[in-house]
C-alpha cells in the first residue's frame, strides 16, 4: 500500500507538470527549436556514495563528455557519458576496483525564477565490471562476485547546473548531480560534483 501511495503522489506530480506545460506557448513550432543549438562539453569531478553504499565503495573521481541541445524554448536535452573507477571500501578478496561507465539522458529546465541556475532530470544506465585478480577470479556467489561479469543497471538522476563563466561560444560551470540506481537489496545513491567546460557547435 505504501508503494501505491508513492505511485499516486508521482502520478499527481506528473499531472501537475502536465498542467504547467499545457499553459506554455505552443506557437513556436517545436521542429524549429529542436537541435537548433548544440553544445558539447567535458567534465570532471568526484562522486560520493550515500546511504549504505558508503560501506561498499569509496569516493571516486570521474571524467565525462556531454552534449546539450535545444529541445523547447525553455528546455534543453542532455546526454552525459561519465567514467569512474571505484575502489571497494575495505578489502574485498581479489577485487581491486570496479570500472563504471554511466550514460545519462534527460532534460534541463531553464526556470527563469532561479536563473542562471538550471534544474534537470532523466534516466541513467550504468555499466560496471570489476578489475580483479585474473588468477583468482572470485566466484559468482562470493563478495563482489557478480561484478566479475558485465553488469548493467538503470536508474534516474536529478541535477543542478550553475554556469559560472559565459563567453560567446564557451561556458564553464558547476554540475551537482544526484543519482539513484535501481539495485537490490537496496537502491544505490550517489552525489557527484563536477566542473565542466562547454562549447557551442552551432
Amino acid at each position: 500500500m505504501k508503494n501505491l501511495k508513492v505511485t499516486l503522489l508521482l502520478i499527481l506530480s506528473l499531472a501537475a507538470c502536465a498542467l504547467a506545460q499545457s499553459g506554455a506557448s505552443e506557437t513556436l513550432a517545436v521542429d524549429s527549436i529542436a537541435f537548433s543549438k548544440f553544445y558539447v562539453s567535458i567534465e570532471g569531478g568526484e562522486k560520493y556514495p550515500f546511504g549504505n553504499l558508503v560501506d561498499a565503495v569509496d569516493n571516486a573521481y570521474y571524467v565525462g563528455l556531454g552534449a546539450r541541445y535545444a529541445y523547447w524554448e525553455d528546455f534543453d536535452g542532455i546526454i552525459l557519458f561519465q567514467y569512474s573507477y571505484f575502489e571497494p571500501h575495505g578489502k574485498v578478496p581479489h577485487i581491486y576496483g570496479v570500472h563504471e561507465v554511466s550514460g545519462k539522458l534527460g532534460l534541463d529546465y531553464r526556470w527563469k525564477l532561479i536563473s542562471p541556475l538550471v534544474v534537470g532530470a532523466g534516466f541513467l544506465c550504468n555499466w560496471n565490471r570489476a578489475d580483479y585478480d585474473e588468477k583468482n577470479r572470485p566466484h559468482f556467489e562470493s563478495q563482489g562476485g557478480t561484478l566479475t561479469d558485465n553488469e548493467t543497471e538503470f536508474g534516474w538522476f536529478a541535477r543542478l547546473n550553475l554556469p559560472v563563466f559565459t563567453l560567446d561560444n564557451y561556458r564553464a560551470g558547476l554540475n551537482v548531480l544526484w543519482e539513484q540506481v535501481w539495485t537490490l537489496p537496496e537502491r544505490s545513491n550517489m552525489l557527484s560534483v563536477g566542473l565542466y567546460v562547454e562549447r557551442r557547435l552551432w
Binding site: T7, S22, E151, E153, F154, S188
Partner: protein, 570 residues
C-alpha cells in the same frame, strides 16, 4: 470487502484528481512487440514468459484465453504449441533503424560488496537492434536481432541442463526466446512481397507444463500480397533435444496460408465474402516431443458479412477440415440513437471441435502420450449490450453480457510429477461437459483535449458459475484501471496506467491450485520526439508497484523492469 471498497474509493479519488489534467493518446509501450498483454488492464493477463501467457479479456465469454483461439486474423502470427502468438514477430517493421535495451531492475552492483550470502538472483536484460532501409525503386532490405531475457532466471539453472549450449544468439541467460532474421522485400502498387531468413531459439510451454527447447535453423518466411490476395509460406528446420536423457530430434516443417480479402467493391455490397486456407506439413525424425496427426493439416476457411441494413450486420467464420471444424459468428443490431450516442445489441457464438485446429495433436511426455484433442465439441453463446454517450470531450460507456459455454476445453489430469521446483502433469485434453455460465459488466469514462491528452477510467466485474475445479484458469472477478496519455508541446509523450485486478487461479497445473493474488500495477512511458528528424527516445517502466510473483505454473516472476529505445525513422 472493506479493503475492496477502500481501493475503489481510493481509485476514484485519483480519477477525479487526474481528470483535470490527463487523457489517452497512446498506450504504454510494450517491452517487445507481442508483449502488449503485460500492460493490459481489462481482464486476466498472467505472464510466465514472453512465449507463454494466459490472456483473457473480461467479458470475452468462455474460459479460453484469446491466444488459444485460432482465427483468420492470426494467420501471420506464430504457432507456439497450441497458441497463436504475436511473438517472436517476423512482421517487417516500417523503414527505420532502432536499438533497444532494458533490464529487470535489481542487480546488485556495489551492493554486492555488502553481501556474501543469500544474494538476490541476478537480473537479466532485453536486447534488440534492427533496421529497414528506405525503399529504392520499390526494393528494401531489413535485419533484426531480438531476444528477451526477462522471465528467465527462475528456471535458468534447471533449463540449462536440457540443452548443450547457451541456447541463445547472445549471452548466457538462457532467454525464453532469441531470434534473428534478415531479408529483403519489394513494394509497389498492388504488390508487397518479402523474403526473410534467420535463426531462432524458443522455449515452448506445453500441456504437460514443461518447457521444450526448439532451435530453428534456418527459418525462412516469404510473404506475397497481390491486390486482395495474401500468401505466406514458411520453412522451419527445428532441432529438439533433451541433454539429460540424451534425446535429439528434428522437425522439418512447411506452413503458411492463403487468404483472399474482401476488396473495396466487395465491402460496399450487402454480402461480403473472404476465404482462404492455412496449412502445415511436418516431417519428424528422432525424438520430437509433439506430433501432428498424419503429419499435415489443411484448414480451409470462409468469412461472411451480411449487412442488409446499416443497423444490422451478421458476421460468420467457418473453418473445416477432415478432423475439425470451428465456427465463430455474431449478429449485431445498432438501433437509432441520439447524436453522439450509440447502442449495440448482439449475440455471439463460438462452436467447434477444437479452439486451434492447426495445432499438434499429441504430446509425448515421460512415456505418456497426452492427447491434445478431445471428443465432442464446445459451444459458447453470448448475448451482449453496449452503449456510449458523448458530451463534448467526455464519453461514458458500458457493456453488459451473459454467456454460457458447454464443452469447454480443459485438462483431465491423471497424475502430477515433481522435478526440483517444477510440477508436471500427465493426462489428456478433455471437455467440461456441463454448462458454465457467466455474467459480466463493464463501465468506462473517458475525456480528452485535442491531441494533448486523453484519459480513460475502466472497471469491470464478472461472475462465473460452473465446476471451477475443472477450469484451467479461474479468471479475475473484477478490475479497475486508469490510463492517461499526455503529448506535451506535441513532442514529449507521457503514457501511464494504474490498475488493479483481483485474484486469479490456476486449478489444474499442480496438486493445489496456484492463486495469483490481486494487486495494483503501474506502467509508464516517457518519450522525447523529434518529428522533423524522425527521432524518438523512449523509456518505459513496467510493473512498478506490483509484487514480483510467479503468474503462471513453472513460469518466472513478473518483475519491475525498465526498457529504453532509440528509433530513427526514414
Amino acid at each position: 470487502m472493506r479493503s475492496f471498497l477502500n481501493r475503489i474509493l481510493c481509485s476514484f479519488s485519483v480519477l477525479c484528481l487526474l481528470f483535470a489534467a490527463t487523457v489517452s493518446y497512446a498506450a504504454v509501450d510494450a517491452e517487445m512487440e507481442g508483449m502488449e498483454v503485460d500492460s493490459r488492464d481489462d481482464g486476466t493477463f498472467l505472464v510466465g514468459s514472453p512465449t507463454y501467457y494466459y490472456d483473457r479479456r473480461l467479458g470475452a465469454g468462455g474460459l479460453h484465453s484469446e491466444s488459444e483461439l485460432w482465427s483468420p486474423e492470426k494467420l501471420r502470427q506464430r504457432l507456439l504449441f497450441n497458441r497463436m502468438s504475436p511473438l517472436p514477430s517476423w512482421n517487417p517493421l516500417p523503414p527505420s533503424v532502432w536499438l533497444k535495451t532494458g533490464n529487470e531492475l535489481g542487480d546488485l552492483i556495489y551492493q554486492d560488496f555488502l553481501i556474501s550470502e543469500d544474494k538476490p538472483k541476478n537480473r537479466t536484460p532485453i536486447l534488440e537492434g534492427g533496421f529497414r532501409s528506405p525503399s529504392f525503386k520499390g526494393f528494401w532490405v531489413t535485419g533484426r536481432g531480438f531476444q528477451d531475457d526477462h522471465f528467465s532466471t527462475r528456471s535458468f539453472s534447471y533449463r540449462k541442463e536440457f540443452v548443450d549450449d547457451e541456447f541463445a544468439l547472445f549471452g548466457e541467460n538462457y532467454p525464453m526466446f532469441s531470434s534473428m532474421y534478415a531479408g529483403f522485400g519489394y513494394g509497389a502498387g498492388q504488390v508487397n512481397a518479402s523474403v526473410l531468413a534467420g535463426e531462432e531459439y524458443i522455449w515452448i510451454f506445453s500441456e504437460s507444463s514443461r518447457w521444450i527447447p526448439v532451435h530453428y535453423k534456418p527459418r525462412v518466411e516469404t510473404r506475397v500480397d497481390v491486390g486482395n490476395l495474401e500468401t505466406t509460406v514458411a520453412y522451419e528446420a527445428a532441432d529438439y533435444q533433451n541433454k539429460k536423457k540424451k534425446e535429439t530430434g528434428e522437425r522439418k516443417e512447411w506452413n503458411g496460408s492463403l487468404r483472399y480479402r474482401c476488396g473495396d467493391a466487395c465491402r460496399r455490397g450487402i454480402l461480403q465474402l473472404s476465404a482462404g486456407l492455412a496449412f502445415r506439413k511436418v516431417d519428424d525424425s528422432g525424438v520430437v516431443y509433439t506430433r501432428l496427426e498424419d503429419d499435415r493439416v489443411i484448414l480451409p476457411f470462409m468469412e461472411l458479412k451480411i449487412e442488409p441494413a446499416r443497423a444490422l450486420a451478421a458476421h460468420a467464420m467457418f473453418a473445416v477440415n477432415d478432423r475439425d471444424w470451428l465456427v465463430q459468428d455474431s449478429i449485431e443490431l445498432r438501433p437509432a440513437a441520439p447524436s453522439g450516442a450509440g447502442v449495440v445489441l448482439g449475440v455471439k457464438n463460438i462452436s467447434g471441435t477444437r479452439l486451434n485446429p492447426i495445432a499438434d495433436t499429441e504430446e509425448f511426455f515421460d512415456g505418456d502420450t497426452i492427447s491434445l484433442t478431445a471428443d465432442g465439441q464446445m459451444n459458447l453463446v453470448q448475448g451482449y449490450a453496449a452503449f456510449t454517450d458523448t458530451l463534448g470531450n467526455l464519453e461514458i460507456g458500458g457493456r453488459g453480457s451473459f454467456w454460457a459455454e458447454h464443452g469447454a476445453e480443459t485438462f483431465d489430469v491423471d497424475k502430477y510429477v515433481t522435478d526440483e521446483d517444477f510440477v508436471y502433469r500427465h493426462g489428456d485434453v478433455d471437455r467440461i461437459n456441463s454448462w458454465i455460465k457467466g455474467v459480466t459488466g463493464e463501465l468506462w469514462f473517458s475525456a480528452w483535449y485535442q491531441e494533448m491528452f486523453a484519459f480513460k477510467a475502466l472497471g469491470g466485474f464478472e461472475r462465473i458459475d460452473g465446476n471451477e475445479s475443472r477450469f484451467e484458469v479461474t479468471p479475475v472477478e473484477f478490475f479497475t484501471s486508469f490510463s492517461a496519455d499526455w503529448l506535451l508541446r506535441r513532442s514529449f509523450r507521457i503514457s501511464h496506467s494504474l490498475r488493479y485486478r483481483s485474484d486469479a487461479k490456476w486449478n489444474l497445473r499442480s496438486h493445489d491450485p496456484l492463486t495469483i493474488k490481486g494487486d495494483w500495477f503501474w506502467d509508464a512511458t516517457f518519450e522525447q520526439r523529434f518529428p522533423l528528424y524522425g527521432l524518438y527516445l523512449t523509456g518505459t517502466l513496467l510493473h512498478v508497484i506490483g509484487d514480483e510473483v510467479v503468474e503462471t505454473p513453472n513460469g518466472a516472476e513478473n518483475r519491475l523492469r525498465f526498457v529504453c529505445t532509440v528509433r530513427k525513422t526514414f
